[in-house]
Subunit: 720 residues, 2 copies
């Protein structure tokens, strides 16, 4: 592993489908157990050690996961206006400094080491078996809303007793010691349990002040807001504290469509969740899966920077996942990071590569939910809402939480883009799983989608030309809403035109697979391709916006190539359909693809470096300092593996080194972020979408476009 | 009504038993809808008006119930680190200034008037009928978790259209517009509905910025955190907006003993609660009950200062109440203000006067719950825990959340005091209700209490002499835990000794009422009385602590007389028991009472004014600047009505003027508070206990002690 330049950044440690993160890693700020929030929680974490027995008054030395632990944040440790005065404590704690700490950040293990303590958090993941087919036991294993950690103190070489602690200082009162297990909960929603592997005394502590709690003759006061476990380590000995950190939200948690967490089918209480995780065999299995994932990533062909980005991405992805049951039926939701929009469709399509590899049934679930609740018909035909709601409030039928009429920028409708996204998602699902039954059931929807695609296009060029009537005079936008006009406007947009081209190829493929092949002239793929080729400038570059008077006309955008991923992905996924394979191969051999390849060479090889930042990071649009990591990862993959532009490997490698710095330095508090303005996370923080980086694990060993095939390396094993 | 010196203070507007407060009134800070928290919530309230129609860009002029509305708080309106950047808005709003506003603070109406708008919040209260006997309809009326408000704009003399708004800026995302009613909710927990009395357009608004929301062509964006209703008022017209503000917490809300709100039996959702309250007839009935309560208080014999204190007290009392059902049985809880301890027994006894007048069955419920869950037996016999838990976490059986061993001050055990409190509460309950059945059912508990009282006393003096073994070497304290040593220490404490004397009289009364009269020599009342009389100093003052070497020995404490309330209260309550009445009259004629009267005269007439603050407020202990409003109210009552010391009426009147200032200026943010250090609320804020002031409504028209009788004036009518 390449040592991290800085270890000072938050990571989300999350189980699957519980919308839960145990977040820590950024120095001097709060984190801890957050449920159903798009940001780090606000708990001080005290993971530390002191010389002497529990009553000694030497300062506790802790990992720097609490307010005041770094000099730039000490001013945030203010006396609060709210709450009993006893809460305004300043515990006798000093932080380990950065140079005293090593951190190893694996795919599923986040490991902190100092001379005196060793703390690891395990967040293994695996396929979530399809609940329609899986056994309750397997689902219980997969969905337990809990992560595990270990605190190891090796005092074998020591000369005196030491005392260690794991404790959480909650930001609101309501902590209590659990009855039948060594654990604490905040109300009955979140909590943790602990156990010493060695048969020695574990001391529950609960006061306002962690240092006081350990040293005081009354370690537990029910009014205290800081709770945890202390233990002594005699000289010559070693102690291992196992910790399970979990949540349990009972009852209805969403509005309008009333959902419960699916895990409530398999667990009856927080107590049961924590007990389950603290079982010795299960704890060791949990840790062993995490370590095996760490090894898989290490042995992949990814560079250390890529490995970091992927490990960071999968963590924030799982922290955003929420598996519900609504009226007896499953409902898979990925929340949109800090915005908490639910199943934003332009994210769903980006998550699909990972999800189809891990849990294809969740993609089917999202497709079905969009049809049933969040499709709508405007003046041109069917499309899909941008999202399904926000912050656990499902939107009214057929409406997103995001879109508004009468706008031309951010918050306008994405009717064309979401129509493409649903079709592409369906195509990826069917190609990857071969679930033709699902396709036949929904062929009428697919056909309505094709008709709607056609109705939105300029019949001559095939390119999207009509804004939805839902815009009420405004203009549609694309997923790149907040980037710049070069990518924001939907009409006459090159990025979206290539996406429409890929969508038509997908529609052709779906028709073929459904056994009702499309007449070639019904597809607009060829028209779009020819129109785009005709727009290539003298410099070999496709303008971002095809309208010459648009400010976006001069923008040079890398995402023009984004949609090439789809035909390539389908071709790699489909085995026994020669006609389909032939059509996909044709598409990838089309002159449009060659034009896009030349476009990319012009942009990446540009002597003015207009598509790179000074630090080497990738600039998606030459005219914007706003760049999105998830799309960078996707485009990098297209450049390397589909366009096979190995001559830029070094440039992309340098870019990834910058991207790691963006995440660590530009998004230290916000864990994995997507939207960076000149390297600083300015939005789309705490975000799932960078999981597109998982594409990097999928290598294309063959040369150039016409023979593109996918192979699959180093991916996590499915759940046992 | 005496005009308020300052109108700048928070009030809790609360239904009964829902642990809900709609808090507003303090300038420039947040408030709004708070559920299950011991402090104001953190919502900005926008109740205002602007010139022009909804699209006009003139600033909105609002009541000053939002951050930034007063100059000293504008710095708190910071850009927040958390959340989407769109939330960091600075709406186009200016506050009405204090001189532009009139406020009338009635018993159940809080009325704000400016030249342009008129806003009133109604929080009527009444008896909660005993659920064991009452009809579901009556309980539905009594327990609806909702308060109502009205915003009236009179533009009849205006020359142009105006636009008004009621909106709440939530501190966390998750607001949504309700479907079948004009309303908004935050998740499905809290929310409000609105309706214009006139048949004209109501405009739902939801954006990040309230002023933007009103003016924008898209008034509702689901991502917005500020939501409410706007309406236009054409020149020459008048509009009345009715608002219902409520909550609905479904499912289990407490831990260990798993409780649900009783209102969930009568309502199925927040939507149903709000619809119920918005019914025209019910709204008008609600308002009419509030106005009738206002009139009752106005027509009482209380001074305007006393009226203010009582109106302030009942509001914070109801905001702390929580009526649950645990496993099919009722569970009444009063939460301890900002501390949220549940049914703190030394508060329960102070609330008893109000509760026995309003809902005697809740007192029985608390007595039963203490027996069943929170009684314990130490080395000396039975006693009761200080409280039943905190912040919705019920404590383990027989333990409070507050008490700890090995201490001599705050957080030590209150074994003796709580034993007295339970007995006194039982005696008040039986005396007031005549529920001898309950007494017979629990006579074994009462007898165990008597035995325990005896075992804790010095057999010679009758005064408490033995600290509970639960103290493990520490010392017991009294309810005045944080005042000073003069009242804090339990052993040899004059306040507690008088309370023990009253307790023995209560035990004698209970024995008599149960039909098993106590042998006179079994009671320690006489011993205690004689011992105390012997301790009176040359100056006629009883030392606070009877041990001559204690620092409390020199303290002069008004609460020495507190416990005189009990025999007087029982005597007034009991009608047909001549033997009991005779015993109580004897007690009140006892030389001890004459001594206490002289003690009081010495303290109140003291030329050094050691028991008054400079502002005239009452100082419970001459040696402490910490004084408690609830106990002041109780002692004032004893002084005026039981000791009949009318010569101090003016001094007490002056004191009450100071006490009003303490609440308004010293506790402006915290609504009604109890603990004031030199006039500033320093603890026990947002507190229910001042409801002891309701005793003031109970006049004793007869002279002096030996003929003390209670009559009841101006109290709220029972629920229909």
């Amino acid at each position: 592993v390449k040592p991290l330049e800085s270890i000072n950044f938050n990571a989300q440690h999350s189980p699957m489908g519980a919308f839960l993160s145990f977040t820590c890693g950024h120095f001097g700020t709060r984190g801890g157990i957050g449920v159903e929030i798009g940001s780090p929680a606000k708990q001080d974490l005290y993971i530390g050690i002191k010389d002497g027995d529990r009553h000694s008054r030497t300062p506790l030395k802790c990992l720097p996961f609490y307010r005041g632990a770094s000099s730039d944040t000490s001013s945030t440790f203010l006396v609060e206006q709210a709450g009993p005065t006893e809460q305004n404590v300043r515990p006798n704690v000093t932080p380990f400094t950065a140079d005293q700490i090593q951190r190893t950040y694996g795919w599923a293990t986040d490991h902190w080491t100092t001379d005196e303590l060793d703390f690891a958090i395990y967040s293994p993941f695996a396929s979530i078996p399809d609940p329609a087919a899986a056994s309750p036991d397997d689902l219980r294993e997969a969905l337990a809303p809990v992560v595990c950690a270990e605190l190891v103190i090796d005092n074998t070489a020591g000369t005196g007793t030491k005392t260690a602690v794991f404790a959480i200082g909650f930001d609101a009162p309501g902590v209590r010691k659990l009855d039948a297990i060594e654990g604490f909960s905040w109300r009955d929603r979140i909590g943790f349990a602990a156990k010493l592997v060695e048969d020695s005394e574990l001391i529950p502590v609960q006061r306002w002040d962690v240092s006081e709690a350990i040293a005081d003759p009354n370690p537990v006061h029910q009014l205290g807001t800081c709770a945890g476990f202390a233990f002594e380590i005699p000289a010559g000995e070693r102690r291992t504290l196992r910790i399970a950190i979990g949540c349990y939200l009972d009852g209805i948690v969403t509005t309008r469509l009333q959902g419960r967490y699916l895990y409530t089918r398999y667990f009856s209480s927080l107590h049961e969740v924590l007990s389950f995780a603290m079982d010795d065999d299960r704890f060791m299995e949990h840790r062993s899966v995490a370590r095996s994932l760490d090894r898989q990533l290490l042995s992949s062909n990814l560079s250390p920077d890529q490995q970091f980005l992927l490990a960071h991405a999968t963590r924030s992805y799982y922290g955003s996942t929420q598996l519900l049951e609504v009226g007896g039926e499953l409902f898979w939701i990925v929340n949109e990071g800090e915005y908490c929009m639910m199943n934003t469709l332009d994210l769903s399509i980006d998550h699909a590569f990972w999800e189809l590899d891990q849990n294809p049934w969740v993609v089917r679930n999202v497709l079905d939910r969009f049809i049933r609740h969040y499709s709508y018909v405007d003046d041109r035909g069917i499309s899909f809402a941008h999202d399904m709601g926000a912050h656990n409030n499902l939107s009214p039928q057929g409406h997103s939480s995001y879109e508004l009429p009468r706008l031309t920028g951010c918050f306008s409708y994405m009717t064309q883009e979401q129509l493409c996204n649903w079709i592409l998602l369906a195509a990826c699902y069917v190609a990857k799983t071969g679930d033709v039954d699902w396709l036949r059931q929904n062929q009428h929807v697919v056909e309505a989608c094709a008709a709607s695609m056609r109705a939105r296009a300029n019949p001559r060029t095939g390119i999207m030309a009509h804004d939805s009537a839902r815009c009420e005079g405004g203009s549609e936008i694309t997923t790149y809403d907040s980037l710049d006009t070069s990518l924001g406007q939907a009409r006459a947009n090159t990025y979206l035109a290539v996406k429409c081209w890929a969508t038509w190829i997908g529609l052709e493929m779906l028709a073929e697979l459904a056994g009702e092949p499309m007449d070639r002239e019904d597809s607009l793929a060829e028209k779009i391709a020819c129109s785009l080729i005709a727009c290539v400038g003298a410099d070999g570059v496709l303008p971002a916006v095809l309208e010459a008077d648009s400010p976006g006309h001069r923008s040079r955008i890398i995402p023009a190539v984004e949609a090439l991923i789809y035909p390539a992905y389908w071709l790699a996924a489909i085995e026994n359909e020669p006609k389909v394979r032939e059509r996909l191969s044709d598409a990838l051999r089309h002159p449009l693809v060659q034009s896009l390849r030349r476009h990319t060479i012009a942009l990446l090889g540009d002597r003015e470096h207009r598509n790179f930042f000074d630090d080497g990071g990738m600039k998606l649009s030459s005219t914007s300092n706003n760049s999105w990591m998830s799309k960078i990862a996707l485009c990098e993959y297209v450049i390397r593996e589909i366009l096979n532009l190995s001559e830029f490997n070094d440039a992309l490698k340098r870019a990834d080194t910058a991207h790691v710095r963006w995440q660590i330095e530009g998004s230290g508090y916000w864990a994995c972020s997507d939207q960076f303005v000149s390297g600083v996370a300015k939005g789309s923080r705490y975000y799932p979408r960078l999981v597109t980086a998982a594409l990097w694990l999928t290598e294309s060993p063959k040369p150039v476009i016409e023979t593109t095939v996918f192979s699959h390396a180093a991916r996590p094993a499915p759940a046992k």
